[in-house]
Point group: C3
Chain length 465, copies 3
């Protein structure tokens, strides 16, 4: 009854429509969209679907086994006389119902029948989406995998940053909990294991964020040195450097997330109690301390009524500046914002502002480590965390500095403009490695010669690069 109400409601809203049975509909239609799960293909009026264009929109709920055929191929096997087309499975019911995602959303289409494929591509276009011709029906396996993708480009960055985080957590545990006990013979309550719950996490997030930001900019520096050494941009980078250059966007966003957590925790505990080395010392008074309801003991008591030292003020300012420049990097990574930026604007933000964020973040850490260096804090042959965290970004900044000199940058720009120092007579076809195109530090769009090979159907454009 509620089904009938809903159906009548839909018919009422669409004048010119008729409510019919499945069989009758299948008989008159030229194109049939099959919107059932693959388990229910047998319930369809299969004999009525022969010689029709049958659009399969089914999705899997879990990835298929290696040799398993796609759902569309399974359907094609059931109705070999029909023209099965795989399409629309990437669209959500929510998107279709609310007309969102149009324009931006790509809808892949595959079929063994080129006429049917063209017809469905036309439907896709009229609905306002971008159709992508994926060729034969065997592409359906990849198309059905698209909705099941779980952030494939995030796997390696998450593993890298996660490992770095745990490494630093263990280092801090050793330095601040274990080491204190060993070297000063304190009890575990001495420095307190309780700090594993927050202070160690705060410092770990801070150091990991700084190192991850460094990991975003180091490969660009490495690539520049390689190009200078080779004297050409036409030589392929090692695969590991390729992949590293490609994952910089994900590394940057992970860095932003960790830096936000560190900012929140750091600001919450920011006080003379927790950061004594960048605050002016407390006032010590000799006072009668109440040890229980009746007795008092005279001892020196620190009274925190001081302010930050100059070092502390600079520390906080540089940290805040680094954080909010990183926020600008994050905002410019949003798809809709990135689309409004020109190449030079994107380069300015991701490269120049990005290096500024790295430098201010390093100064922020250095100001904390500076105080430590003037006192004897080296226990267990390990410097303070604020100090050992510095070497990686400092080395990267040091490697970058020579690249800023005009005598080095000049030749590098020429090489990126296509100059080949080796002057070897190369083949007329120069495919630049398109894997360099995802680049959080350098978006050099004009120096990427994109080489595409188009299907030889009709007189087609070719690209000379």
């Amino acid at each position: 009854m509620c089904v009938c109400w809903h159906v009548r409601e839909l018919v009422r809203r669409k004048p010119g429509t008729r409510l019919v049975t499945q069989d009758e509909a299948a008989r008159v239609a030229g194109v049939v969209v099959v919107a059932v799960g693959a388990d229910h293909y047998n319930r369809l009026p299969l004999p009525l679907l022969t010689h029709k264009v049958v659009v399969d929109v089914a999705n899997r709920t879990s990835p298929p086994h290696t040799n398993e055929e796609s759902l569309a191929e399974k359907l094609q096997g059931l109705i070999p006389q029909a023209q099965v087309v795989k399409a629309f499975n990437v669209l959500s019911a929510y998107a279709l119902e609310n007309n969102v995602q149009q324009g931006a959303k790509q809808v892949p289409v595959a079929s063994d029948w080129s006429g049917a494929r063209r017809r469905v591509l036309e439907m896709v276009k009229r609905m306002g989406y971008s159709g992508v011709d994926r060729g034969q029906l065997k592409a359906a396996k990849e198309i059905e995998a698209i909705p099941l993708q779980l952030m494939p480009s995030w796997r390696v960055p998450l593993i890298v940053v996660g490992s770095l985080w745990f490494l630093h957590y263990l280092l801090l545990l050793f330095k601040y909990q274990v080491c204190e006990k060993i070297s000063e013979g304190k009890d575990w309550e001495g420095y307190s294991l309780k700090h594993l719950a927050l202070l160690n996490i705060n410092r770990t997030c801070a150091i990991t964020a700084l190192w991850t930001l460094t990991l975003c900019y180091l490969p660009g520096v490495g690539a520049a040195y390689l190009q200078l050494a080779w004297g050409t941009k036409y030589r392929r980078f090692p695969t590991w450097l390729d992949k590293w250059l490609k994952m910089r966007k994900q590394l940057g966003l992970l860095m932003l997330w960790l830096a936000s957590i560190h900012t929140c925790l750091g600001v919450a505990v920011w006080s003379g109690h927790y950061d004594p080395l960048v605050w002016d010392p407390p006032t010590f008074i000799s006072a009668q301390v109440k040890v229980n309801t009746t007795s008092y003991v005279t001892m020196d008591v620190p009274v925190q009524n001081s302010k930050m030292s100059l070092q502390g003020e600079l520390f906080l300012t540089f940290g805040t500046l680094s954080m909010f420049i990183t926020c600008l990097l994050g905002v410019s990574s949003l798809p809709s914002v990135g689309a409004t930026l020109s190449w030079r604007e994107f380069m300015f933000i991701q490269s120049k502002l990005g290096w500024l964020a790295l430098v201010t973040g390093t100064v922020h850490d250095g100001l904390l480590g500076w105080g430590f260096s003037s006192q004897d804090y080296t226990k267990c042959s390990l410097p303070s965390s604020a100090q050992y965290a510095l070497w990686f970004p400092l080395v990267t900044i040091a490697m970058k500095l020579p690249l800023l000199l005009p005598c080095v940058d000049g030749p590098l720009q020429k090489i990126r403009g296509g100059h080949d120092r080796n002057k070897k007579k190369r083949s007329n076809v120069h495919p630049t490695d398109p894997v360099h195109s995802l680049d959080m530090t350098r978006r050099k769009r004009e120096d990427r010669t994109v080489w595409q090979v188009r299907p030889m159907q009709t007189p087609h454009p070719i690209i000379l690069a």
Copy 2:
């Protein structure tokens, strides 16, 4: 003079254009766009517009009366021989001038004349927007209402969350201001009405945020139990559950806003003064307190030189984690980001990460309530706010747990895949309730069989579901 300058400027920029009077322009044109307000229709050269396609772009400044006709129908009444088309009113001058919003923006078109309607849809497409054919001119009333919409999908969520906020503010006022006075006979300065300005607001935002996040996930749990009870997904949910499922996105964004305010205020006041139960106790000293310029009184004075307890460190860590996971939910709700996510990725973020945010937020609150439970804080038969805030999320999490068991989740997934336990012979047409498509916890796109009835103009695709 300045008008003439501006006109001459426009003509100069567009070679091949001519500057003419309205009458002369109306005579030669085939399509005329009327861009005046409805109050000025009489100023148009109406006799010259007969037999032309007249596009009305006017907007209202306030919603019409119930039986009032649309502006386009009013214009059609003035020039019955013209082919009036309603279009373009949803585009802002800013968007047209700066060429933003293309692709994503939909432009509805309505007219009693199908040829004129097709012609204007073609114009819309050539301008780069998505034209939507809305049929007859009587649809113009709905089209004219579009720019006047004021967040219709936010009305009920704002009322719900607003009411919840005031309810909790009054509860806190009772618990912490009124109750103290009643039970301990303190003056109003005792606990201080001043805390109504911030501390009460901070706690209210915190509790309301936690309950609102619970409201995002509870309906999904309820829907799952209903489907298990009914044994099928083809039975329509109660209307209130439908609406609740649809408003989860708005509830989530309101929760994010309240949680941000709570985070900001909470971090600002985070100290031993304000959160004594999760900080180590202060040092009490017996001291000479200066009561005026000359006299001193000996009394016990608390000196805050302690750190957070383990409970306090965990409390802050879980709270920060919950906050920044919620930020991820918020970022993935942005249209441009959502468009890049696959179904499984969106599910992972909104469902799995969302439940993680709820659980960490509940633990955050529980750690504060834990301390209270070990002391006698029950005044006026009302436990502390940190405790009474816990029951709602705890009940929801408890309801969710059975759904995670394989013996329960298995049948549920089968039902969502289309399995019908009742095995009744249903009609061949199974419209699934499309209102389930907006789902912040479950985006099961493959189990939504979308049933569309298309106008019977030409051989059209039909959908078997």
Copy 3:
């Protein structure tokens, strides 16, 4: 070898493609895309390109000299028999490779050959982008400038806000460092130059943010008064007001960034030490202060164990509210979010919520200035920063208030609806100044009569306004 592998890989992925030499490819193709830098045009097989459509995608790395011709015109000069078309240079390799930015991204096309131009526009459309016909090849100079744009609309706002920031930094330096020394004869360590590193920066960011937000709303008030004075909306605003109205979006985003920095720093230092005027006074005790390892001196010591006063609680609440309302303004400025908002929704957020942010921000500052006014803090004839920062937003709010009265707002709305008090017989053509369309306070899309002159190629639509 690695080049060959890469080429073979590309051929393998695109069935139906062939690997050929440049010369052979150039011979058979109808359209040739030249994807080398302009320095390498001579390396192309130029004789083979005659009578072909040659698409130039080259970009410059730096802006050209004033009289320098565009790269496309240079190429046309090399192959005068070819039909050179400038296109695609605005697309990044990353976007092409990853199929992002489609729909939203505009691709300008220019050529002296209209047939070739149409053909390339068709290619652009089939690739899913929005083609923009820019006419003759001399437009290539502007097209080549697009990727080199470096935020042209941000120049003046950055200069304005930057100058304001430095002005306030110097004022604060005078008030809090120099003035103290002059008037109280303190040493530089008295108030401490160290505060230049953070406290002065925090206050400067706060005051500059408040004044910048005021700068966003003042021009709208000014424009309203001008329209009321003139009695019409058809008179052009002064150029400086035009430009000011256009830059309000950039001013608003700069304000959001400065306000975020102020919030972060302000919350970090929020304590009785730093903001004594909005905290209850500390407890002064007479104590034995340890001045070195052996000796003690009796002095009065402040012990910070107090809480915020009512003034302090209100101050923090209003500040947080203002901050998070401004965040809503920022989020609604995102392109993808703005595209989903109707005119009335956008108006509500940018105008009503915006004024609410300004008012709450002014109250926030006023609460801090209030405390100062009850004590004698006027040194060097300059009131406290919290007070002198107030005058600008207060004046703007005072100017806004009369506009809210029905007897003023009524006529203003009529004028914006097209009413002309002067009743002069105006020409039939009324171009409204389209520069008012970017308006962060008032998006009155229905009262902008847009007047466009379209090229007189075929029977074209004309607009009566």
